[in-house]
């Protein structure tokens, strides 16, 4: 068996909540669209990242697939991204279609809205995975066989669910503290499952590319293909595979073109194949490799921060409150059958909203600041909660209940559903 690498890239853009004030509640149900030049202008950001990352990387992947018969890559594309691309940059969808048409690109399933629904509502979670699968089928003509939960949020229960749902493989973070002596460079079987396999992210190698590549203070800067291949080989050792999981936007957005990220990746792919090694899609890896044993992760592990848990999204009380109020609306939103209301409520589920409310200033603070369009996590919370209140008002109006009938007084909201 050849030494293998599985590259998995995640494509996502959220709908960001605009500075939505308490005075907008009941006046405007537009939580997301702005037409100014601020950092919450989703169209502006999508077009910027399209130029810096999506278009050049799609084009590079296309070149690599044409040039190297053995090149493989796996992608997951969030529904939020697809919605935005269809609206503002449909050529990106065509670009991804062409990649899938080569037959050597695998589509990985996830929740449509890049949400943490699994941890709040199983019915909503399943609905979103279905939505994503249907959308992918409609656009790309494939039905995913691999699954990843939002932010690689994984535990035994997620694996059990994916197994029952018929997925062949699931992705997770290969975090030392959970793995102990076990290496992430093997295929595993999740605890208490029948058929599904587990692939673990090699975070050291992934982060070399995704986080450290362009850091001029890094002792290994600049990273060359030769050096990286040496590291990959050394890391795999007697193992089977190195899983390089990262954001698609690593290429051109997190790591800039002028630092050479595209040419590095091109060189690496060519050299790796040239040395007689293999690339796998995640499902190919699951089919072709032998399982090295069982792994159990009772506690949730994610791919974020030094803690690798959900605290970046649900660590403080604002985040917990926001999520609680959001999911408390599920039943009443769903039974309204109001498609716009349901759609808005679902866009508010995107995990990025909670991420922007993170107050972990120390250590990870910088990364959060980098990825947030707001000047403070408190503002992120304020705008978000106002949007939630408007959703609640719409629910009350739809079902003709709550103090809102007779009084335009949000104080009454507390009497309802909270």
């Amino acid at each position: 068996m050849k030494k293998g690498v599985a590259v998995y890239l995640h494509v996502h853009q959220p709908y960001r909540v605009r500075p939505y004030s308490i005075f907008d509640i009941g006046e405007s149900h537009n939580y997301f669209d702005v037409f100014d030049d601020t950092d919450v202008n989703d169209e502006k950001i999508l077009l910027k990242v399209a130029d810096k990352s999506y278009r050049p990387m799609i084009s590079l992947l296309r070149t690599l697939l044409d040039k190297h018969e053995d090149f493989r890559v796996s992608l997951s594309i969030s529904g939020d991204f697809i919605d935005q691309a269809e609206r503002w940059a449909p050529d990106l969808i065509d670009g991804f279609k062409e990649l899938f048409d080569t037959g050597r690109v695998e589509f990985v399933a996830e929740t449509y809205h890049h949400s943490l629904a699994f941890f709040f509502s199983r019915s909503e979670f399943e609905a979103q995975v279905d939505m994503q699968r249907n959308k992918v089928k409609e656009l790309f003509g494939v039905t995913p066989r691999a699954f990843r939960n939002t932010e690689l949020a994984y535990n035994d229960e997620v694996a059990k669910w994916a197994d029952d749902a018929g997925y062949k493989v699931i992705l997770a973070e290969g975090w030392d503290k959970v793995l102990g002596w076990q290496s992430p460079n093997y295929l595993y079987r999740p605890a208490n499952t029948e058929n599904i396999k587990l692939l673990l992210k090699n975070y050291k190698l992934s982060d070399d590319m995704a986080f450290r590549f362009g850091d001029t203070n890094w002792s290994e800067f600049p990273l060359t293909s030769d050096k990286y291949i040496e590291w990959v080989r050394a890391s795999i050792g007697d193992g089977q595979i190195a899983n390089l999981f990262m954001d698609f936007e690593t290429f051109g957005e997190h790591q800039w073109e002028d630092k050479g990220i595209f040419s590095f990746f091109e060189q690496f792919v060519g050299d790796w194949i040239g040395h007689g090694n293999a690339f796998y899609t995640v499902s190919e890896a699951a089919e072709n490799l032998d399982s090295a044993g069982e792994i159990s992760m009772p506690d949730t592990v994610t791919w974020a921060d030094t803690e690798r848990d959900l605290t970046a999204w649900l660590g403080n009380s604002m985040q917990q409150e926001a999520a609680r109020h959001l999911y408390a609306l599920e039943k009443d939103v769903m039974r309204s059958n109001d498609t716009e209301l349901i759609r808005d409520w679902r866009y508010l589920q995107t995990s990025d909203h909670l991420y922007y409310m993170c107050t972990k200033w120390m250590n990870d603070g910088d990364i959060h600041a980098y990825f947030s369009p707001y000047d403070s996590p408190y503002n992120a919370f304020l705008y978000y909660m106002n949007a939630i209140r408007d959703v609640r008002l719409r629910v009350m109006q739809h079902h003709r209940l709550g103090g809102v009938y007779g009084h335009e007084n949000i104080a009454r909201e507390e009497a309802y559903g909270v």
Binding site: S21, F23, S317, E321, W361, Y378, F381, L382
Partner: protein
Amino acid sequence: MKILMLGWELPPHNSGGLGVACYHMSKALSIAGASIDFVLPYRADHPGVDFMKIHHATELKPDLKAHMGSYDSNWVFERYLENATNPNSLRGIQRRYVDFIEDIAPELRPDVIHAHDWLTMEAGVRAKELTGAPLVVHVHATEFDRSGEHYGNPIVHEIEQNALLMADRIIAVSQLTKNIIVREYGIPEELVEVVHNAVNMDDFGPYEYDTRSYRYLEALKYEGYTVVSVLTRFTIQKGLTHFMKAAARACEKYDRFVFLFAGDGELRDELIQLSAEYGISDKVYFTGFVRGKQWRDVYSISDIFVMSSVSEPFGLTALEAAHHGAALILSKQSGVGEVLNSSLKYDFWDTDTLADQMLGIALSPALATELRNNVRNEYARLSWDDIAKNCMGIYRRTRKVALV
């Protein structure tokens, strides 16, 4: 290091933050090894001040400080500056202060002169002329701040301008103040250092909140009301009319608010009038000037503390409020915001945003809790000892340059 420190007030005879800052800074400097001669314009006892020598420039009683007002705005200055021939007018006291410095400065032979704000700046310049020691001018507020972003009193402005030009080094209490010094007074950026203030609650003595001072407000709190407070002098600098407007705006959406106006000042009547005009006078409480326990209880009863200043060089009260467990909303024109990330911020004129933020906190216990808890780590990091070390470094560097 021998320092001639020129101040205008010290606790307990202070009318605001300047005296508090001078007290803590001097104490920390003396611990750091400095020997300090501190000059005041009045004579009074300052119990507990045994770490420096206090000099009294006049025999006046500190009660007069109400008339000497180190902070008051243009309106008051005009009344007290006019009468320069009267030795008990503000200008007259300043003259006597300079005379006193002329007497003692040569004998004291200081290594550095450290002058606080415009009231002592002329004396600082004079001391420099007489002793040749370098002059450090510490800017806690400029005339630009006091007059609410107008040019202010031309005499005061000129005194500041002259001293800032004569200073060997300038200390600004925030980046905001530094920007004003550079922009409005044309001082080169590299001459101005930013040294933020700190808060030291240990010095305020034992305290336990017992809910007695503001019983009616406590009763309302029990009913679910949110108490929003300001604690300040009611001058144009403080932006209170904007705050009142935001209060009314917030009440349009949610009626369980109480607004506590602690303090006093020339705008008091206008504010009362305004609260009636907006129809929220029932929700607005004026305490008058508060001290001691009543003063600390204002912070303790507050769910939200607002600093609404049009131009606030630093804003010590925000740190005090944070210490007593209030969530903070600060105007972006307040320097203290530079050291407190865990606060909500708005432009002083943006009443809708302020209303939105007050409502946000009132309606969300989680937001209130996070703001309250997280800000503790931030103000606790600020220490007068670090400030003293910083000042000692500035003295040394300034002396070196002056000797060359």
